[in-house]
């Protein structure tokens, strides 16, 4: 994909199981405020995966995703039905990128700074954000506390 113009905002679709996509959207909007060019597609227990793929396609069409603008699909679970449906959409529309492992940190990183970035760049940002955001908080605090103690004893 070519350089994105500065004012271009790549549309994003969250896809996942049950209410997860809408839940992530509501959490994102609590932090960042209302989002444009963001859709969700949810697959319930009686949902049909083929229908899920069609809904993702419709969501992309509604946000006018095309080869110039590109689009980004963030799916919750790699190998799950929603992610498989997104993979089918990608094979039909290669200008759309699909990343699995949707999390709040990943979603925030993408949506906070979409302007002027291509879908491909955003996919890279999503993967990095998803990987780097997992932290054992207790361990980090324990390490920080012991460092403080040893710094204090030296002073």
């Amino acid at each position: 994909m070519s350089e994105a113009a500065d004012d271009v905002e790549v549309p994003v679709v969250f896809v996942g199981h049950a209410e997860f996509p809408e839940g992530v959207r509501s959490a994102v909007e609590m932090i960042l405020g209302p989002q444009r060019n963001l859709s969700t597609v949810q697959l319930g227990p009686a949902g049909d995966p083929a229908d899920c793929a069609r809904q993702i396609g419709q969501a992309l069409d509604q946000m006018r995703v095309n080869a110039q603008v590109g689009g980004l699909i963030l799916a919750d679970l790699q190998g799950g039905s929603p992610s498989n449906a997104a993979a089918a959409v990608f094979l039909e529309r290669p200008f759309v990128r699909v990343v699995a492992g949707l999390s709040l940190p990943m979603a925030l990183e993408i949506l906070a700074d979409r302007q002027g970035r291509t879908a491909e760049e955003l996919a890279g940002v999503a993967v990095t954000a998803g990987r780097e955001s997992v932290t054992d908080v207790s361990r980090a605090l324990t390490a920080a506390a012991s460092k403080e103690r040893s710094d204090g004893s030296r002073a």
């Binding site: 227990p45 009686a46 049909d48 995966p49 190998g79 039905s81 498989n84 993979a87 089918a88």
Partner: protein, 163 residues
């Protein structure tokens, strides 16, 4: 042939399968069996990557039967996923001998008259007839969402819903 598990699931390989069932039945080979899926190039690309590292084959019913009849296949612990009850019936009639059969998900097909037997299993009158025929062949037929769920007899569930 060591088919440790036969699953009837129109979602094929997906979250419940990879997160829970692959480990619970200790399978090392997933075989998706359905004639239409086996001819679908997109599904043939997507399903193996959905399996997250477990060996995966996408077969027609005949190919699945041929594979499982090979002597070498007895070294494997095969989990066969049939898309529809009709696929499972053809497999058993063709000589497949799974240790158990579990009904996973069957999304309703629009335009058909169906009953939701569980939250995720739609059954038409035709399906009910096929499930009964399947159960009549002797392999236990259950509907468990998770491997640890109790072995609910699927034919009892059908009867409770008047099917």
């Amino acid at each position: 042939m060591t088919v440790v598990h036969l699953r009837i699931d129109n979602r094929l390989i997906h979250g419940q399968v990879t997160v829970k069932w692959v480990g619970a039945v200790r399978t090392d080979h997933l075989i998706v069996a359905n004639d239409v899926v086996a001819a679908d190039e997109i599904q043939r690309m997507i399903l193996p990557q959905a399996a997250r590292g477990v060996k995966t084959s996408i077969f027609t019913i005949d190919q699945a039967l041929q594979y499982c009849a090979k002597p070498g296949s007895s070294n494997e612990r095969i989990l066969v996923i049939a898309k529809f009850p009709s696929d499972a019936l053809r497999l058993l009639q063709g000589g497949l001998e799974p240790q158990e059969i579990n009904v996973g998900n069957q999304a309703p097909t629009s335009g058909t008259k169906f009953t939701m037997v569980t939250r995720s299993i739609a059954v038409t009158a035709d399906d009910a007839r096929i499930y009964r025929e399947l159960a009549g062949l002797g392999t236990p037929l259950t509907s468990r969402m998770m491997p640890s769920d109790k072995h609910a007899d699927f034919i009892d569930l059908l009867a409770k819903k008047g099917l």
